[in-house]
Each structure stands twice: as structure tokens, then as C-alpha cells.
């Protein structure tokens, strides 16, 4: 069933929902953006429907709602661990198709990988229902269609912002009564079916090819360009890696907490071990790892889908303007060349010319 709801009435409905739900949506933080006089749009709890920024892409993804940047796992005293607690309230998230599909990737890691469930993720995840925000059109950097994440039917409500009115499709019976007095309309959300940006995913079908890909000198070009800041992962709906960290409260050295903090495979110390040995030492090697994880080995492991959902946030957030879609396409071209047996410069060749200089 679908309805046409005025902004005023929608706010009353949100108020009613807030008794049981915390409601999150992309929200504008004025002048908090990357450059002076720019705003930051990120997920936060909303109080009215006017808070929702629906006509711009959010800079950060909604993953933080259930996978916070930093999160207490336990509190401890001298000899006891106590699990941290969460709010009893349920959670509603205004999200776009790509992000809703992105949550499925997080589910795979946190709830399925290794056959165990992460309770910190699960206890918030099972409270979540989605309000799909229709995308009127796609933004420049989006490539959701190439990644097959432009559509979803995993939502309870779907909304289209239409001047002073909001069109709402109600799929979930839990919410039907809230809309009982509204004007019924024909509305089902539409999905974008083409993006300006398109990617070709290379088909990597043998170990020999993979080894050649590892040695491509395209990765070296990121050594000087990428500054290993990890901003691309911070904004990615599908990046899930974390460090654990113990903290002592300074007022009382006897109690403290174990936290987990999001991290990135792009950080220099991500693989550093005792003795200082690390496995991916250069920015290029880390770029290769991230790229292949997003469009090759995640799918190899879990079969269903690639990890990247093509939201394009990583390239918009990158301080060095590194475009992930271009990286994928560049890799595709290199792989095509390799498949045709054309010679491509490898790492060894690149370094021997360096030495030859």
C-alpha cells in the first residue's frame, strides 16, 4: 500500500515511531565539511523529516549506525569483564539501495564468516528496519548498476520526496496503521538503471593470471599518489576491518574498557607484526589488496556477489582524487591485455628500468 503524506503529517508519524525507534538519516552538519564553507552530510538521528538530506549524496555511509567507528566491547575491573550494553530501542534507517545492499556484505562478514556471529554487530543489526530512499537520478561517481546493487526489495517503507509531500510505500505490516488515514496513491519506488560511471569487472580465472596481476606496474603508480590515509575505507559501506584497543580510564587505573575501532587495510601498519615485519609495505600493494578484495576475492570466497556496491564515496572522499571506478577499469584493461598475451610492464621491469637510470 502506498500513500501521499504531507510533511507536517509525516513529522507526526515520525514522532509516533520515535516511541519505539531511533530514526537515522543523512543529516547536514553545516560548515563541518572538508573545505571551508562546505557542509558535511553524514548519518545521525533525526527529529523531523526536514532533517533528511535526500537530494545530495551522504559523505559517510550508514554503517556507523550499527558498526560504530569506535565501540566499547567490555568494561573491566581487576578480574572481571562485563559486556557493554545497547539501547532497547529499535532502529529505522533511511537508506539508498546501494547501502541496503552494502549491509548484506557486512552481515556476511560479521554474522557468517567463520561460522560465528559477532554479537556486537548482531544485537544492533537485528533491530534494524530500512526506509528506502528513492534515487531520482544517480550522481557522477555512482556505479551501482555495474555492481548490481541499484535495486533492492529489502525495506519496510520506501519514500519519494515530492515537494511538500512525501510518497510512502508501506511494505511492512507493522507500520500500516500509522498510515490508515492517509490518501492512498499509486507509488512504488523506481531505481536508477544507468549511471554515468560504468565499470568492467575483470574476470580472473586462474592463479597464473592472478600472479601476473600482482606484478602489474599499475599498482606502483599509487605509491607516490596514495597517502595511505584510509579515508576510502572510512566512508565505504562495505569496509568492516577493525583493531581492538584497551583503554584505562585515567581517573581510576583499576577499571577500563576494551574497544574496537574501525581501521583500514590502506594504513601502513595494518599488517605489521612483532619485529616490525609487514606484508604489504607500499601504498601500491595495499591498493592492490583493497581493489582485489572489493571486486575479486570476496566473491571468490562467498560466491554471491562482489563486495563493492559502487556507491562511489571512496573516490569522492579521497584527498588525492584517486578514483576507484577508474582503478577497476584500468585493471580490466590490463587484464584484457594479459589475456591477449600482450606485454604489459611488470613490477620487475619497472624496477629494472629504475635501476638502469
Amino acid at each position: 500500500m502506498s500513500y501521499c503524506v504531507s510533511t507536517k503529517r509525516m513529522n507526526e508519524i515520525l514522532k509516533a515511531l520515535q516511541k519505539d525507534y531511533k530514526i537515522y538519516a543523512p543529516v547536514r552538519f553545516e560548515k563541518r565539511g572538508r573545505y571551508s564553507d562546505t557542509d558535511l552530510i553524514r548519518y545521525a538521528e533525526i527529529n523531523s523529516i526536514e532533517d533528511v538530506v535526500y537530494d545530495e549524496k551522504s559523505h559517510f555511509s550508514p554503517k556507523e549506525v550499527i558498526y560504530p567507528i569506535t565501540q566499547a566491547l567490555f568494561y573491566f575491573t581487576e578480574d572481571e569483564y562485563r559486556e557493554s550494553k545497547v539501547d532497547d530501542k529499535k532502529i529505522l534507517i533511511f537508506a539508498r539501495s546501494c547501502d541496503i545492499n552494502g549491509f548484506r556484505r557486512l552481515d556476511t562478514i560479521f554474522l557468517k564468516n567463520g561460522g560465528t556471529e559477532d554479537i556486537y554487530y548482531k544485537r544492533l543489526r537485528e533491530k534494524v528496519k530500512f526506509i528506502l530512499m528513492e534515487c531520482k537520478e544517480s550522481w557522477d561517481s555512482c556505479f551501482c548498476v555495474s555492481m548490481g546493487s541499484n535495486k533492492t526489495d529489502n525495506y519496510s517503507l520506501a519514500v519519494r520526496f515530492d515537494g511538500d509531500n512525501i510518497l510512502v510505500e508501506v511494505k511492512d505490516h507493522e507500520f500500516i496503521n500509522l498510515f490508515a488515514n492517509e490518501r492512498e496513491v499509486e507509488f512504488t519506488p523506481e531505481f536508477v538503471t544507468s549511471n554515468l560511471t560504468k565499470v568492467n569487472i575483470p574476470e580472473i580465472d586462474s592463479q597464473e593470471l592472478l600472479e601476473k596481476i600482482y606484478n602489474l606496474d599499475m599498482w606502483e603508480s599509487y605509491n607516490s599518489r596514495c597517502i595511505s590515509c584510509g579515508a576510502c575505507s572510512a566512508v565505504c559501506i562495505t569496509c568492516s576491518c577493525f583493531n581492538t584497543l584497551d583503554i584505562i580510564y585515567s581517573e581510576n587505573g583499576r577499571v577500563g574498557e576494551r574497544r574496537r575501532v574501525q581501521t583500514s587495510c590502506m594504513h601502513e601498519d595494518f599488517t605489521t607484526m612483532a619485529g616490525g615485519w609487514s606484508f604489504r609495505k607500499t601504498a601500491g600493494e595495499r591498493m592492490r589488496f583493497r581493489t582485489l578484495h572489493k571486486i575479486y576475492d570476496y566473491k571468490l570466497r562467498f560466491k554471491e556477489e562482489h563486495m563493492c556496491v559502487g556507491c562511489g564515496r571512496c573516490e569522492e572522499r579521497c584527498p588525492k582524487l584517486i578514483s576507484f571506478s577508474s582503478t577497476i577499469n584500468r585493471l580490466y584493461d590490463e587484464v584484457e591485455k594479459l589475456k591477449k598475451g600482450e606485454v604489459s610492464r611488470t613490477r620487475e621491469q619497472a624496477s629494472s628500468t629504475e635501476e638502469g637510470k
Binding site: 566491547l73 578480574d79 560479521f110 576491518c241 571468490l300
Partner: protein, 263 residues
């Protein structure tokens, strides 16, 4: 609510055995069933957590042999018998001991890499009839860094042992890296055998190549990987190589798989 896989439990330290200046073995009370080659996530509240291999196991205890290298391990070295160590696990796969039985076994270990193989070496020391022969090459940097001196002496009585130090020349030890001694293993006289290689990354790499040069086939080689880990259960992403999570599918890998894992 499902069980919290991140929740560590206190375990009593029964005994502490210094091996070298900066490597101690901690015997810890536990009823956990552990397989040879598995590890625990070991922690001290307010300090931190790290993966540590089981170096020996008994009826109601395990031994952890720990090198003092940083935040957590420094703190562990301040603990006394009777104190509590927090642990969760055991995690990871294990050495295929059943497959080793009835065959020749060659174990090549370097430095702290001796710790994860020690438990099954002890098993075959107690049960020598279960194996055709056991060749054990152990390498240490220098005299100061020799681990498990008592065990090394005992192993000598039942296994074919080659102990070596990188530089120092002392009684009972050869000189040179473990790789230099691999050619002494009579691989061509074995009809059926397995090879286990554990140690620093570079050592495993060259030891495996040396074995292959001596006619060993890839399927017979087993290695154990070390990676930075924060969770041990496939969530934090640190240990991932290609599509493989070392904490889940490892740390023990057959060389046919290990050689294809590209970092």
C-alpha cells in the same frame, strides 16, 4: 543471546618457566580441548590481546611460550604463578597429526617457530611407535636464544636431530641456517613422509624451496603462517590473504595452498 565470541575468560597461571631472557613458557590451567598447532587469543584487561600458539598441552593445562616484544607481552612477563591470564579459543586449524602417523616426519623449525611444533613433537616423543622416523632440524640465532633446552636433549634420544645456531659454535650445535642442513635429510630413502616447516616468513620460504630442490613434493609440505590478528575469528580482516583468513583456514597450510597465497 548467542555466545559472545569476543569474550575472554580468566585462566590461572600454574607455572612460569624462563626459556631465555625474553622468552618464557607459561603453564595455564584450562580444560579446553586443543589440537596441535592451534592458538589462543590471550589478553590482560586494560592492556591488550594477541594470538599465542599452544606449545604443549596436558590433562588440565596448556603451555604458551611467549616472546616479550610489546605492550601485552611485556605485561604478561610481570605476572606470577597464581595470577590470571585471560584467554579465548582455541582457534585455527591444526597440523594433520593423523596423516603423519605411520610415515616419516621431517620437522624444520626456526626460533619461536619451535613453539607451535613442540606439542606434537612431544606427542611423538611419548608415542614413538606411531611414526616411522622423525627428523627434527631446529635453528636459533645464537646461544642466548636457544629454547626448550630440556626438550631438545630429550628429543635427541629418540629423533634424528640437527640443532643449529646462525653464528655461534657450541657443543651439540651445528653452525648455519636451517636451510643449509636440509640436504642431510635422506628424502630419497623415504617411501612415505611429511615435512613441517615453521619459523619466520623468510625462513619458511627458503626452507620450502630447499626441500623442493631435494626432491620433496609440494603436497607433503606443511607450514604455519603468522599474521597480525585482532579477532582470531574471521571478523577484523587483519589476517586475510587473498580469499583466505589465516585465523580460520590456517594457521597451518599445505604448501600447495600456501605457495598460492599472495600478500
Amino acid at each position: 543471546m548467542s555466545e559472545n565470541i569476543m569474550l575472554p575468560h580468566p585462566h590461572k597461571i600454574i607455572d612460569i618457566i624462563p626459556e631465555t631472557e625474553d622468552v618464557y613458557t607459561f603453564r595455564v590451567e584450562t580444560s579446553a580441548k586443543v589440537k596441535h598447532g592451534q592458538f589462543f587469543q590471550v589478553s590482560i584487561p586494560k592492556i591488550g590481546e594477541a594470538p599465542i600458539s599452544v606449545s604443549c598441552m596436558g590433562e588440565n593445562w596448556v603451555e604458551l611460550t611467549i616472546r616479550k616484544v610489546g605492550k601485552l607481552t611485556n605485561e604478561i612477563f610481570n605476572l606470577k604463578p597464581g595470577d590470571k591470564l585471560f584467554m579465548r579459543g582455541p582457534y585455527g586449524n591444526s597440523f594433520p597429526i593423523e596423516e603423519f602417523k605411520g610415515k616419516h616426519l621431517v620437522v624444520i623449525a626456526g626460533g619461536t617457530g619451535v613453539a607451535p611444533v613442540r606439542s606434537f613433537l612431544k606427542y611423538f616423543y611419548e608415542n614413538p611407535d606411531e611414526i616411522k622416523s622423525l627428523h627434527f632440524i631446529a635453528g636459533f640465532r645464537d646461544e642466548k636464544n636457544i629454547l626448550f633446552r630440556e626438550d631438545l636433549k630429550k628429543f635427541k634420544t629418540k629423533f634424528n636431530t640437527i640443532y643449529t645456531l646462525d653464528r655461534d659454535k657450541i657443543e651439540g650445535f651445528e653452525v648455519g641456517l636451517v636451510t643449509e642442513h636440509i640436504k642431510k635429510i635422506p628424502f630419497n630413502s623415504f617411501e612415505d613422509y611429511n615435512v613441517v616447516i615453521v619459523g619466520p616468513h623468510v625462513m619458511m620460504h627458503f626452507a620450502a624451496l630447499e626441500c623442493l630442490k631435494n626432491g620433496v613434493t609440494e603436497e607433503k609440505i606443511w607450514v604455519s603462517f603468522e599474521r597480525r590478528m585482532s579477532c582470531g575469528v574471521g571478523k577484523c580482516g587483519h589476517c586475510k590473504i587473498n580469499e583466505v583468513y589465516v585465523c580460520l583456514e590456517g594457521p597451518v597450510f599445505n604448501y600447495t595452498k600456501a605457495k598460492n597465497l599472495l600478500d
